[in-house]
């Protein structure tokens, strides 16, 4: 069993990339869940998107053998760029209005 595992470890393939992406994804989720600072939440989202991209490309390489996954990844990057710009603009605006960017303190829309 242990030897089998070592064997598996020393031949990186699709699973390895997927597991790296899974861990990265969980890191991102964790950041989004626990951080109070909106910019750190954003960083978490970027990690999530990167993890998803690794999946796309890994499947494109090992699964289908075509480049479709890579094209989708490009769209993800495009949307990530747009999202980051908008989100940071919103963060700046919120900062000007509330003088804080801690997400749990901004609750004007509640009730």
């Amino acid at each position: 069993m242990a030897q089998e595992f070592m064997q598996w470890l020393s031949h990186p393939g699709l699973n390895h990339f997927l597991i790296v992406s899974g861990i990265l994804f969980s890191f991102g989720i964790f950041a989004v869940l626990t951080r109070r600072n909106a910019i750190l939440v954003l960083m978490g989202i970027e990690l999530i998107l990167n993890a998803a991209n690794i999946n796309f490309i890994a499947f494109s390489r090992y699964g289908t053998g075509t480049l479709d996954g890579q094209v989708i990844a490009i769209f993800v990057i495009i949307l990530a760029a747009a999202e980051a710009a908008i989100a940071l603009a919103i963060v700046l605006n919120i900062y000007q209005n509330f003088n804080t960017i801690n997400v749990d303190e901004i609750n004007q829309l509640r009730d």
Partner: protein, 753 residues
């Protein structure tokens, strides 16, 4: 000089003015003197490079065509068409090298002149920026090797001339003139575009060489010669617009609303020459029929414009019509097959006509200054009837103006004599080859008219006595930035620059450099070849020279007789020929004609469309709206508007309509409607209709209160109840929601694994 050097230098010449434009349009406010030195300096650099290119081209690559191409877009193998790609590139042959020098020389001197003329203008820096973009686009037309870039530059020229004519856009007449120039040019450009598209559709390439080679190898558009003629004439339509040929010549005189140096640059030397250049460039693919059309258009233009020029009093208007007339000459020259002569006239005319405009600018500048000083704002500073006797006050302007006038009138020892004489000889040769005798007659008649009206300006402006003794005291010679260009142009109006033989251009370098290209069109539709034409030309040469000298002499004498010695009273002649004079003064009523037909026609069409949109389309939409509204109001008047019952009723009827619509659609869509399905649908439809009927007619009162309201209240209560519960889940924190999402995802994972 190597080929690469020449091509690289040409690219640099092309791009430098663009660089100047970019710098000036963004930074003119920050640069010292608003950047006029930058624009002017760049243009003089271009001029220097152009002269080097010309020398290198003529010196070491006299008979070669230097080209640089690259593939800009490669569409690969397009289904139904075959391999398709878009090649761009630049080309330098002798024609191009000469045009480069012509354009840059006029442009640089106009820049220099503008420093004095536009001094203190509100948009001084922007003016120089526009001059730069204009020069760039003009050079783009010249150096390109394909129709694509040529068309792009062609439109850019149109745009920049629009900007320059409308430079003083506060003046209504200036902005109108800019619009007119733009729109009229567009009409011609549509023709050119169509022509290019005919060629592209057949040859899948824009490059001149490829197209000409394809035609020469026998593939002609759509396999028929009339299409080739049509393509040629349509491309010529572009030239008709840009070179202000009949019937699109109306924009050019109006364009004189722009600053005078602009008139010199655009409307004398370069932009209007673009059309002639286009004909020269495509000359080799013109069929005999196309050339005859070109010849006649040119001749008619030359004639109409010359007659109009006689009756005008505005100095710039006279020059404008003279330009139109001379452009007609060039076009006619190319049309009859005197290729070199036509292009030669383009070059010489560029020099002396730019000079004439700049000199008139100098006069107007002085007059304006004097009138301004006297506080006179009513007298038109451009009207030659208020001038006279300026010779003593503005000697440089006078002498240069006189030289230009001699050149345009075709007096020996000037450049104009050389080129005009060759064109006239060409028309004689043309008529001897195919019997169009009217062409040389018009040619010689217009030559006489030209001499007459040009000397009319000289005499009325510079000779005799000034009308207002006080005003003339205030008139001064212009500053040297304005007089230096005049002197340079005057020098370039002498024969020695083009040929050392003052009576024959054919021995000069120019003729050796720009030989007439052999036609590539199929022999059956080609014009008489070079050899036959040269033969006919040889016979008519001496006759042409004698005749042209005679008519020029008559014209000049008539001008002096009428306006200087006053042997003939101009007013008496005008009175005698009152209808003719009015006709000419009103420019053959072209503007009125176009106003009545094209402009009003377009406006009428627009009104018809507006009416159709307003009445028919909006009518249908509004009709449907009001019909539906009437239906709804009519059937639901039992309830107060907005009451629950009404709402309910409407919801039911909406549902019913949708259901019926669905029934109809499904009946139409299903290829073989099953009988059982139709029956079921019918029953459902009937039941729904019955329910609606019941709601409407029977249960309106009690049913509404008890059941309907009860139902509604129950729904509302339920919604409130669930709202209270789910409210607890709504923390308003994104993170909480995310936790739910995570659990949801995990449930899915475990469920489906």
């Amino acid at each position: 000089m190597s080929q690469e050097t020449i091509l690289q230098l040409s690219t640099v010449i092309l791009l430098l003015p663009l660089l100047g434009f970019i710098l000036l349009i963004f930074f003119n406010k920050r640069l010292p003197r608003q950047g006029d030195w930058l624009g002017t300096g760049i243009l003089f650099l271009c001029l220097l490079l152009s002269v080097i290119v010309l020398a290198g081209k003529l010196g070491s690559h006299h008979d070669e065509v230097l080209q640089f191409k690259f593939t800009w877009v490669d569409w690969g193998n397009v289904p139904g068409i075959g391999p398709l790609k878009l090649e761009l590139g630049i080309m330098v042959d002798n024609l191009v090298a000469i045009m480069l020098v012509v354009v840059t020389i006029v442009s640089s001197l106009v820049h220099l002149f503008s420093i004095g003329y536009m001094h203190g203008d509100v948009r001084y820096g922007r003016y120089f920026a526009y001059l730069g973009v204009f020069t760039f686009s003009m050079l783009g037309i010249v150096v390109t090797n394909n129709f694509f870039m040529m068309y792009v530059s062609w439109e850019l020229v149109g745009l920049s001339s629009y900007l320059l004519i409308g430079h003083w856009f506060e003046k209504k007449s200036a902005s109108d003139a800019a619009n007119k120039a733009f729109i009229v040019n567009r009409i011609g450009d549509i023709g050119m575009f169509t022509g290019i598209m005919i060629l592209f559709a057949n040859f899948q390439t824009f490059t001149f060489d490829d197209i000409f080679a394809a035609i020469q190898s026998g593939t002609i558009p759509f396999g028929s010669e009339p299409w080739l003629t049509a393509a040629g004439i349509l491309i010529f339509a572009g030239a008709v617009g840009k070179s202000a040929q009949f019937p699109l010549h109306v924009w050019l005189p109006d364009a004189m609303e722009g600053p005078t140096p602009v008139s010199a640059l655009i409307h004398a030397a370069t932009m209007v020459a673009a059309g002639v250049y286009l004909i020269a460039r495509t000359f080799t693919m013109m069929t005999a029929d196309a050339l005859i059309v070109i010849t006649y258009i040119g001749a008619i233009t030359a004639f109409i414009a010359a007659t109009i020029a006689i009756a005008q009093n505005d100095i710039k208007k006279v020059l404008a019509y003279s330009t139109v007339s001379q452009l007609g000459y060039m076009v006619m020259g190319l049309g009859v097959g005197a290729f070199t002569a036509g292009f030669f006239h383009l070059t010489t005319h560029a020099m002396f006509k730019a000079g004439l405009f700049l000199a008139s600018g100098s006069v107007i500048h002085a007059m304006h200054h004097a009138l301004h000083h006297a506080g006179d704002h009513h007298t038109d500073p451009q009207d030659i009837r208020f001038m006279g006797g300026l010779r003593s006050k503005m000697p440089i302007t006078f002498w240069t103006f006189l030289i230009f006038t001699l050149a345009i009138s075709g007096v020996p020892f000037t450049s104009g004599f050389l080129s005009k004489d060759e064109i006239l000889a060409g028309t004689l040769a043309f008529s001897s080859l195919n019997g169009h005798a009217i062409i040389p007659i018009i040619g010689f008649f217009v030559a006489g008219l030209t001499a007459f009206y040009m000397f009319r300006i000289v005499i009325l402006t510079f000779l005799g006595e000034h009308k207002d003794a006080h005003r003339i005291q205030e008139i001064h010679e212009s500053p040297f930035t304005m007089t230096v260009p005049l002197m340079v142009f005057a020098a370039l109006s002498f024969f020695a620059f083009y040929s050392f033989d003052p009576f024959g251009a054919s021995s000069g370098w120019f003729y050796a450099a720009v030989p007439r290209p052999e036609s590539v069109v199929p022999g059956t539709v080609a014009a008489p070849g070079v050899a036959a034409f040269e033969e006919a030309l040889h016979h008519s040469h001496s006759l042409a020279m004698i005749l042209s000298l005679t008519v020029a002499g008559i014209g000049i004498l008539a001008a002096f007789g009428t306006y200087y010695w006053k042997k003939i009273s101009a007013d008496a002649v005008a009175d005698r020929l009152k209808p003719l004079h009015t006709f000419l003064m009103n420019k053959w009523y072209f503007d009125e004609l176009y106003e009545a037909t094209a402009v009003n026609g377009t406006k009428g069409l627009a009104r018809a469309y507006a009416w159709f949109d307003d009445r028919v389309i909006d009518g249908i939409v509004n009709g449907v709206g009001s019909w539906t509204r009437a239906l709804t109001l009519g059937t639901s008047r039992n309830w107060e508007e907005g009451s629950l019952g009404a709402v309910f009723y409407k919801a039911i009827s909406a549902g019913l309509s949708i259901y019926i619509g669905w029934l109809v659609t499904s009946a139409l869509m299903s290829p073989e409607p099953a009988f059982g399905e139709m029956l079921w649908n019918g029953i459902l439809g009937l039941a729904t209709a019955g329910l609606t009927f019941f709601l409407f007619f029977v249960g309106v009162g009690g049913f509404d209160n008890k059941i309907v309201d009860g139902l509604v209240n129950a729904v509302a209560y339920l919604a409130g109840f669930f709202g209270l519960i789910s409210r607890r889940l709504q923390t308003g924190k994104v993170q909480t929601y995310l936790v739910f999402v995570i659990f949801g995802v995990m449930v899915f994972f475990l469920w489906f694994r």
